[in-house]
Symmetry: C2
Subunit: 325 residues, 2 copies
């Protein structure tokens, strides 16, 4: 049975989700016209807003009925996510994101760096208003780890010695940590600390699965379906799981080609590397790992009481996996 996003995932929090936009718009309000214009541009370029939806669903799954505070938290999560995207686009020198021109392309790197800084600061400012020291500590530590994950990714670029463990550390920081904050934060605000750990485990494994799937798609998808080109990561010499796994599944010349392509990046031998990744069994291993992470995420959810919202989190996890099935 196909999962329908609106009906099977969004439904339990549809009105809260709609109301969240008000908080995002308030959040990006500024006396400085350029700040607002850029913030508006990047916030509107957002995707399905998976992180805030997950935050709202987690709140309901914790038994919260009034989500007023959680709506603010969801808006904060989306602003933090947007800030990291804006800086990522500067870092990756990207011109397009989801088919729209990026902030650095529409304005320039300077503007993108500084508006990203504004969004981080404003997110913290709104977080302080929620007046919860435990929540603040969780987020201030979490955002450090997100930045560290991003730098670890840079540090590992062009390094064929990168291990699967280092890869997991990278994706935990750059992807899973914010999912964790979204759901663990919901438990904190709901006054149900007993659900913090199961929700963190759920979100951490969900994030890992989500990123592994993204990295698989970099070797299998086409530009039209994903808005990114096949081999983008390879071009940048990013040792993602498909390449790490390809190194483990090959020997001799093929092994050397993959190693060299991580070390040098670029389009040199691009097609050959993609073929090796696709035919060596590397992608099968990646799919297996994505499924394991998905199963671990679903298992963690079982520690929450049964509810419509928990089912929706279940459905969202399966929908994410379906992208490679």
């Amino acid at each position: 049975m196909a999962i329908d996003f609106k009906q099977d995932i969004l439904a339990p929090v549809a009105s809260d989700f709609a109301a969240m936009d008000t908080f995002i718009n308030e959040g990006i309000t500024s006396k400085v016209a350029l700040v607002m214009a850029v913030s508006k541009h990047v916030v509107e370029a957002g995707g399905k807003r998976m992180r805030p939806i997950m935050c709202l669903l987690a709140a309901k799954a914790c038994g919260s009925t009034d989500l007023e505070q959680h709506r603010k938290l969801a808006a904060i999560i989306e602003m933090l996510h947007t800030a990291t995207l804006v800086h990522d686009d500067v870092v990756d020198e990207s011109g397009l994101r989801r088919g729209r021109p990026t902030a650095n392309a529409t304005w320039n790197n300077q503007t993108a760096v500084l508006v990203g800084d504004f969004l981080i600061s404003r997110a913290f400012d709104l977080l302080v208003d929620l007046n919860d020291m435990v929540l603040l500590k969780d987020f201030s530590t979490g955002t450090c780890e997100i930045a560290e994950g991003e730098v670890l990714q840079l540090q590992s670029q062009h390094d064929p010695e990168t291990t699967e463990q280092t890869y997991l550390n990278i994706i935990h920081g750059k992807t899973s940590r914010l999912f964790e904050l979204a759901t663990e934060g919901a438990a904190i605000l709901s006054g149900t600390p007993e659900y913090r750990e199961p929700l963190r485990h759920f979100a951490g494994h969900f994030g890992n699965a989500f990123q592994i799937i993204d990295d698989i798609l970099d070797y299998t998808s086409d530009a039209e379906t994903l808005g990114k080109n096949i081999g983008d990561d390879l071009m940048e010499g990013k040792p993602t799981l498909p390449l790490i796994s390809a190194l483990q599944h090959t020997q001799g010349e093929e092994h050397d080609i993959v190693r060299r392509s991580i070390a040098t990046g670029g389009i040199h031998q691009l097609e050959q590397v993609i073929q090796i990744v696709q035919q060596s069994g590397a992608l099968d291993y990646c799919r297996k790992r994505a499924e394991e992470e998905t199963q671990a995420a679903l298992a963690a959810l079982q520690h929450l009481p049964e509810s419509e919202a928990r089912q929706a989190l279940f459905n969202l996890t399966q929908l994410a996996l379906h992208r490679i099935q």
Copy 2:
């Protein structure tokens, strides 16, 4: 009588200042080697650490005797300052700061953007540990305003219509606001809220004077004394007070040359513009404004009880002004 930095300014807080470095080094500790290497590089490239010194002096001027918490706050201030410098150097494409290669030049823009993000997040993380909601709100709002000031500066680049008021808004955000946080934060942590306002006024005017003086030096100094070249701001089309004032002090062809040089930037007619700025009376006006801001800063200090630390803040303010005397 010449003011001696160590004896007349640093002395009352010398041991606290030395101890602060421990907190900075703890603050930049990270599991990710590249994060630590870059953080260490940029923190060590720091100047006289005027902001943390001002924080510590303000704490003593408020009557605090045990500065354990203030040392942490001073370290946080310096980390925030360092983070803005790292991002500024990316924004300005600077290769050198105080004669040392910048982070973006030593590594690359990507690394500089992400390590700057780390330093902002870590500063907030340490701030949360100080466990004071009033302090947190002051800082979270303040860092938004700092980012807004920086974007306003970008927005005003190449705009010859920029008014003195807009200039003041820019320098309040990009420079004075952090001085305000340093001293107002000290009053909050000292449990002397009655000194928040006088210290904020002091620091705000001090920061304005400091930045106006910096902007004057861009038209009068040479590279050897300041580590920056004459005309740097002009090259970038930044409408600082010397240019805004030059527009008000000139007519006809000279006026048009200054207008055009703001609009286009670059070295076109560089020498001519510098000559107009120097001979039109613009710099006299700027010096007058710097002195007014200095006097306002000193007047605000009078609202604090007399002490060795207050005298040191007094001396620091006069030392800053001496740069153009």
